[in-house]
């Protein structure tokens, strides 16, 4: 994307341009559902039930393949047998890509912390942007995670090559109103 990599007319993009770009991105998140275990049902409730209805936040939950997705929600227990598939599908997603780890199992292993077949945390395989605690988290918690991610996307800067780095898949710390900068 020339705007991001080269800037406007060879200069840094102006702030309104940055704002508009981020604003457009944050309300058109294509979300790939990686439903693994119990959390998948709660994710389904957040997506499909009229009470929660995630689509009103600008999340489109039905991409046909990970190659069209901006966001993946890992919801459920990641086992060692499943881990290579998760890594492979994550690599198929185009940059910039975001990961939400939903539930204790995906965060750290959860109740299976001493199991022989469970990967203790999906962050051992792929980088995670937002962790949602809970076993399983309520659908509202997932909605909160989406809102936090949208704030994050809005605050991503273009001017200092930050977004270009993000486009290349590098980790860039982002300061939002509510989250402090992570080292």
């Amino acid at each position: 994307m020339g705007l991001v990599e080269k800037g406007v007319f060879g200069k840094k993009p102006l702030k309104p341009v940055t704002w508009l770009l981020n604003y457009s991105r944050k309300y058109s998140l294509w979300m790939f559902q990686w439903g693994l275990a119990c959390c998948a049902i709660e994710m389904g409730a957040a997506l499909a039930s009229p009470r929660y209805d995630m689509m009103r936040l600008g999340v489109i939950p039905f991409p046909a393949s990970p190659r069209q997705a901006d966001l993946v929600v890992i919801s459920g227990t990641v086992t060692d047998k499943m881990a290579p598939a998760i890594r492979r599908l994550y690599e198929q997603m185009p940059d910039p890509k975001y990961v939400i780890s939903m539930g204790s199992c995906a965060n750290c292993g959860g109740p299976y912390w001493d199991s022989y077949s469970v990967t203790k945390g999906v962050d051992q395989i792929i980088p995670v942007d937002i962790y949602v605690p809970g076993c399983p988290p309520r659908p509202e918690a997932l909605l909160e995670a989406i809102v936090m991610l949208q704030e994050r996307i809005q605050h991503e800067g273009i001017g200092n090559d930050e977004l270009a780095a993000r486009w290349r898949g590098e980790y860039v710390p982002v300061e939002t109103d509510r989250t402090p900068v992570q080292a």
Binding site: L36, A37, A48, P50, D114, S115, V118, P136
Partner: protein, 392 residues
């Protein structure tokens, strides 16, 4: 249950002739195609991987690859105490969490010689039936999704929330209640819960009518499910298929009525629904009737709820004396059993878990031979398995 020998798949000779006529270009490679469904596929309810070998549109062989959700419950149980294990086994069949706890807890109670008070038994029965409704309701909606109807899926999620609210109101946990204690329950029902439960049951019955109006009798739905995926009753029993899948094949067998008496089931009146056809439609129909029956049972249980305490007298530190026990119950997905071996410690020595879905999917290789690819999805949807229940 008599076991019969497995009949092989026989191709109809008339069908062979049609295939011969259709073969125009003899130079085309007619080798089989391997199609990999899953492990991540929306129609597989999780992470079941199914490798199907196709001849054109027709499935020649299907092989389920399981284990993507294996979390090692049986091994973990050996390192937990009895009260801790109910936290784990909630998550085996994650849709009907409460129903999973009951057989394990009652098994431990049998070993200890403790019996939960009647009120606790009745509340357990009510919550089991509520979780049955919550489980089957998702199926009633999703089955529409498998044949391309999106509306029932939304209805399923909508009305399921009402039942989850009830479970949350009583237990504090929306999804995994962890409400059973050895010897009783954690808490009594809260104020106003019973009247709220009655009101919700009316809504559930109305929702069942909606499903029946939209799907049962719908031409597309019947075309996609009638005569598809027929499980003969005896063969299903030989494979270990249980629950509504077996009752849809005309086998009148329900552990709530036929098994060893447990909970409050001997004291209430209910009908076990069967259907003679054994196809996908029959499985849908039987589950629909079971939901209505569960509503009827909940109302009966609310009417006759006895007073009294909800917790028997048990020691503070639970140690189960030496012994072995086998408990089996009728879960929403089928027969679920625990074989508990105790050596007198605070945790079990060995727990063997018999879960319904594992046996239910074991018939898939036989069942999917010879069907068309789109029907694979409806058959898998109609068998209704939960991946945690398969892989454990």
């Amino acid at each position: 249950m008599t076991t019969t020998e497995t009949p092989g798949f026989e191709v109809d000779p008339a069908l062979h002739r049609t295939l011969e006529n259709a073969r125009v270009n003899v130079e085309l490679d007619n080798g089989d195609m391997i199609l990999n469904l899953g492990p991540q596929h929306p129609a597989t309810h999780g992470t079941l991987r199914l490798v199907v070998r196709l001849d054109g549109e027709r499935v020649v062989a299907a092989d389920p690859v399981i284990g993507y959700m294996h979390r090692g419950y049986e091994k973990l149980s050996e390192f937990r105490t009895y009260p801790q294990i109910t936290t784990l086994i909630n998550r085996i069949d994650w849709l009907s969490s409460f129903a999973n706890e009951v057989p394990f807890v009652s098994g431990a109670e049998q070993l200890m010689g403790v019996e939960a008070p009647p009120r606790a038994q009745w509340i357990r029965t009510i919550l089991t039936e509520l979780s049955r409704i919550a489980t089957i309701y998702l199926f009633l909606g999703e089955m529409g999704l498998q044949v391309g109807a999106l509306t029932p899926a939304f209805w399923g999620f909508r009305d399921r929330e009402l039942v989850l609210n009830l479970i949350e109101g009583a237990t504090g946990g929306r999804f995994h209640p962890n409400f059973n204690r050895i010897g009783g329950l954690k808490d009594d029902l809260p104020w106003g819960w019973i009247s709220e439960c009655r009101a919700t049951m009316d809504k559930i019955l109305k929702g069942c009518d909606d499903f029946e109006d939209v799907l049962v009798g719908n031409e597309i739905f019947e075309a996609r499910t009638r005569g598809i995926g027929i499980i003969p009753g005896e063969l299903g029993a030989a494979y270990g298929v249980s629950g509504a899948n077996l009752r849809a094949s005309g086998v009148d067998w329900d552990l709530r009525r036929d098994g060893k008496p447990y909970l409050a089931y001997p004291e209430i009146d209910f009908k076990v629904w069967t259907h003679p056809d054994g196809d996908s439609f029959a499985r849908y129909w039987v589950r629909l009737q079971e939901t209505r029956e569960a509503v009827r049972m909940v109302i009966q249980l609310l009417d006759g709820l006895p007073a009294g305490s909800i917790m028997a007298k048990v020691p503070r530190i639970i140690k189960v004396p030496e012994g072995e026990v086998w408990v089996e119950v009728e879960n929403p997905l089928g027969q679920m059993g625990y074989y508990i071996v105790s050596k007198g410690a605070t945790g079990p020595f060995r727990v063997k878990i018999r879960s319904a879905s594992f046996s239910n999917v074991s018939i898939l290789p036989w069942l999917l031979r010879g069907v068309y690819v789109p029907d694979v999805i409806t058959i898998m949807g109609s068998l209704y398995f939960i991946l945690g229940d398969i892989d454990r």
